[in-house]
Symmetry: C2
Subunit: 338 residues, 2 copies
DNA sequence: CTGAAAGCGCTAACAG
DNA sequence: CTGTTAGCGCTTTCAG
């Protein structure tokens, strides 16, 4: 049996209330001797208050939950570091969950976290649990990160995808690429994916390049799938009918595309240029170093946590939901030619 | 105010006990009508039991904590995925924490998790909180992953570092390398680091290669530091006095070393070979693809969770602590020459 | 088959 | 300056 506050009180010869006050730093008007006695007993018994009991009473857990889409993605882990640091500084604990881009898992995690009475929630959402999220947000502050939720208004921290894509396409065009294909994961419910596809089309139009349906390819993450999609794209007979560059909608795609292209024995950038959205630490070690549109992920994590803490402290009656847009930045490396 | 079990009971016209039984699936001897009425009220009110209250009473949270050393390391995230999957399957929740290789953070997380009454704990420890860990382990099952804790016996899941290093050195020697340097992070408290250093020395001996103090270099992760250490190692005048290969003790070091070497304008593997401990998804995309000793990280996560669950269910009186050793595997790529 | 009552470990009025 | 009391929301004997 773990030692409880009652035991501490008994040994110190005081009441539970007094010990409780001590624990909560309310020793303004506490007898110095009492204080010392309690401190000593606590040290002796190595007493630690039960956080469950405390939270049950206080109705605050000082804990926030964060659900990321895919923890294997460096994008997620950088965001996590940002969230974590800000939270720690403010004295909040973090419960981290990995939805694995699975709506069912996401739903379960949201529920689990709510059940555990978290004070707030940060989600990189699959986009398939909007009703649930909206409902939870009535009671518990939620901040969405990276991905917006359509049809519901919740605090959101994300990046200006349109601007990033525009920089990417401009760069490719400037380097003489007229055939620009795009590879993306299914963009049904994931806002940045959709935005990037739309921005891609818009940017092509700006440069008077025709949008080719077959050059906007939707893929899954399986290596074989990506490989076959690339074969379809690049194995045409007529040179004029092949794209000379590929824009990848996120870093996981970029990595897989580079891997597949190498496997095909095609040279980057000579035969095909590659440009990706999202930077990651090892992008520059790749052969050739990959040109990317970088997002300030760590800062985004910071900001999301910041916003959430304000909501938690401000009470439910705060202000209207806001959206914070970060600026993307094109990092020119070697994968798009000169 | 969130809806409570009392409210559900009131509306369903039954007692709290009955609702509680329903919630816990104890409807063996429950009136079908009662059951349905409760189900309906719960659905109507969208009632969710307060996990804090429940756990406070039950003294079980169905939650385990995991503390990793560095969440930015793909090694950690793969382990996490392994832990997660096994835990989910068994109906346990996971609270994930990132100690950032900081003993103080680790200590705080351990305490936080204990306070939250977790049922078990998995730690990739800094090695600097052994007393605390041993103490907690008296009450709550702990499984160490990757890194052992010296002087205390706790369930541990790790890899046979010695064997891995041996494979690495054998490979380098087979390719004609007689000058083999090693780069490692400080190995004071981190068991695999120490083991790898020792195995490195042992393997050199086996091949009758002299151990050179100045070729075993301890570094921090800062780019500049690594760069300067490499300069010191490789800028010697006399060719005979420079190592022809570098063995990196883990993946973070490997990445940084590759980055630094490229920055120096030195060619891998022609001028210097590189071999790393730990594989990661993009190692093969690097120029040149890096030869590594891979660990079955996902499986290790699985196993650690598995072991922990058994301990949790088996009660504290289980058997003696055990150590599970996984087999490393050399993945030959291009960074060590032919 | 169901209810009453006690209590998990803590906090928070309210007294004194 | 400190103690008494009454819960937080749930589970769990023990009756009936």
């Amino acid at each position: 049996m773990a030692v409880t506050i009652a035991e501490v009180a008994r040994r110190a010869g005081v009441s539970k209330s007094t010990v409780s006050r001590y624990l909560n730093g309310l020793y303004d008007h506490m007898g110095v001797d009492t204080k010392e006695r309690i401190a000593q007993v606590i040290a002796e018994l190595d007493y630690r208050p039960n956080a469950l009991a405390r939270s049950l009473k206080q109705k605050r857990t000082h804990t926030v939950g964060a659900i990321v889409a895919n923890i294997l993605n460096p994008f997620s882990t950088s965001i996590i570091r940002g969230i974590e640091d800000t939270l720690n500084e403010a004295g909040f604990n973090l419960i981290l969950c990995n939805a694995d881009d699975d709506p069912a898992k996401e739903r379960d995690y949201v529920n689990m976290l709510v059940d555990k009475q978290i004070d707030g929630l940060i989600i990189n959402t699959t986009g398939c649990n909007n009703e649930l999220i909206a409902q939870v947000n009535q009671t518990i502050p939620i901040v969405l990160i990276d991905r917006k939720a359509s049809d519901i208004t919740i605090d959101t921290v994300t990046v200006d995808s349109a601007k990033g894509v525009r920089q990417a396409i401009d760069h490719l065009v400037a380097l003489g690429h007229a055939g620009i294909a795009m590879l993306t994961l299914p963009y049904d419910h994931v806002s940045p994916r959709l935005e990037r596809v739309q921005a891609y089309q818009a940017a092509l139009a700006v440069h008077n390049l025709a949008f080719r349906e077959e050059w906007l390819v939707q893929t899954s993450m399986e290596d074989e799938v990506i490989l076959s999609k690339l074969h379809a794209l690049l194995d045409g007979e007529v040179t004029a009918d092949k794209p000379t560059s590929i824009f990848c909608a996120n870093n996981m795609i970029t990595m897989s595309v580079v891997k597949a292209i190498k496997q095909m024995g095609v040279t980057i950038p000579k035969e095909i240029a590659v440009l990706g959205f999202d930077d990651w630490e090892w992008a520059q070690l790749i052969d050739p170093p990959v040109t990317v549109v970088a997002q300030p992920v760590y800062d985004m994590g910071n900001k999301a946590a910041d916003l959430l803490i304000k909501r938690i402290k401000g009470g439910r009656s705060s202000k209207k939901p806001i959206t914070i847009l970060f600026e993307p930045q094109l990092l020119k490396r070697k994968s798009c030619g000169e």
